[in-house]
């Protein structure tokens, strides 16, 4: 088996929860997270600005056999469809990788971590912010 390279960053061009963060700032947050968690950071890929496109995320998932995992800028970058998210978690874990979210400091490295992530996404869907 080929040697695995590290953790691929994943940033976006779409607003998250109504807020926009410049892409170079997203990269700084990911790079800092990787440094603190002692992860080898690999240059981020930027998701498309077109609503509903996850083509870049799919490319990273295809790359998983060569990676230790991926670091999302935020957990809220995952697709809104729960079934699709669960496919992503399964794929990450099946490949022996882990998934991180830098802003929320979340690590998903086993099946038992999934519910906590889903709880955050679900609450975020319904809770309002003053």
């Amino acid at each position: 088996m080929a040697e695995r390279a590290g953790h691929r960053g994943y940033i976006g061009a779409r607003p998250l929860n109504g807020s926009r963060t410049p892409q170079h700032v997203q990269n700084i947050v990911i790079r800092d997270y990787a440094r603190r968690k002692n992860l080898h950071y690999l240059l981020s890929a930027a998701e498309h600005t077109m609503p509903g496109s996850y083509m870049v995320l799919e490319d990273i998932l295809d790359e998983l056999p060569q990676l230790h995992g991926l670091i999302l800028y935020s957990i809220f970058m995952l697709p809104p469809d729960e079934a699709r998210r669960r496919q992503i978690y399964d794929r990450v874990l099946r490949e022996g990788c882990d998934l991180h979210a830098a802003v929320e400091e979340i690590t998903l490295s086993s099946q038992k971590d999934i519910q906590a992530v889903e709880d955050i996404l679900l609450v975020n869907k319904f809770a309002t912010i003053l």
């Binding site: 410049p22 892409q23 496109s53 490319d59």
Partner: protein, 268 residues
């Protein structure tokens, strides 16, 4: 030029090539400036690798794969990238490499990306690839152009590919049915053109067109720089004025216009 034309014939021809092909290549306006950039890049690479400075910067860059591993490549790239961008002469020189072409294609009140990017692609290395994309899809404005400058001769997979404007729209229409950028590449592959550019020339291309690179199957290492330019007053997307772009040419009439206030205080 006839007395009814606003543009010179050579400007019209250049503009038409850009529209038809999606790119133009021209000899660098400032060849000495390009040589200075190439020499400085080679010096910075030698410093990083703890080697003496070479008298032949082209050979130093083109054969860097014999001196650096894939694992250390990003460290080298960042060292050269930071070193070049720290030079106060670097960005003005980069602009001068293509100034006449930029002014014909974009305009003469310009903003420029704050940092000039650097790509290094070792032969056979799959770690530094850019999947098929248009810059617009990741937050660039469709009003921008990219000035792409190789520091070595580039051809075939040592270069980048671009999809011709005549096919870009049809391919975009198919995108939503595809799963990944790799699938997209397979769809456009028969039509994508790798652009041959000898050292000493620069390319200006339409970044709304799909482009990317593949594993470099040529013998030498690719070194290329890229930087975005746009007309200051044209619309911005996610790559904003100030944080991503900064003004480099603002004309006096625009400064006057931006500061002008109509007389006030009327109560009638």
């Amino acid at each position: 030029m006839t007395d009814t034309d606003f543009l010179h014939a050579d400007e019209q021809a250049l503009a038409q090539r850009f529209i038809d092909d999606g790119f133009v290549t021209t000899p660098a306006d400032d060849r000495a400036g390009l040589d200075r950039i190439q020499r400085r890049a080679a010096e910075l690479a030698a410093d990083y690798l703890k080697l003496p400075h070479s008298n032949d910067p082209y050979a130093m860059l083109d054969t860097i794969h014999t001196r650096v591993s894939v694992d250390d490549l990003n460290g080298l790239r960042l060292h050269v990238f930071n070193g070049l961008n720290a030079e106060p002469w670097f960005r003005p020189t980069y602009f001068r490499l293509a100034r006449s072409t930029i002014e014909t294609i974009v305009g003469n009140e310009l903003c420029m990306q704050r940092r000039v990017n650097l790509s290094i692609q070792l032969p056979g290395d799959s770690s530094s690839l850019l999947a098929t994309h248009s810059d617009v899809w990741s937050g660039d404005s469709p009003f921008e152009v990219v000035v792409w400058v190789p520091l070595v001769d580039v051809r075939r997979t040592k270069s980048m590919y671009l999809l011709p404007p005549s096919l870009n729209g049809d391919m975009q229409d198919r995108m939503a049915s595809l799963r990944s950028a790799e699938e997209l590449y397979k769809t456009i592959k028969p039509h994508a053109t790798f652009i041959e550019i000898p050292y000493g020339h620069v390319m200006l291309f339409n970044q709304t067109l799909m482009h990317g690179n593949r594993v470099n199957e040529e013998a030498g290492t690719r070194w290329s720089m890229n930087c975005r330019f746009k007309s200051i007053m044209s619309p911005y997307a996610d790559k904003r004025f100030g944080e991503f772009f900064e003004p480099i040419l603002l004309r006096p009439a625009t400064r006057v216009g931006m500061q002008y206030k109509l007389p006030g205080g009327f109560h009638g």
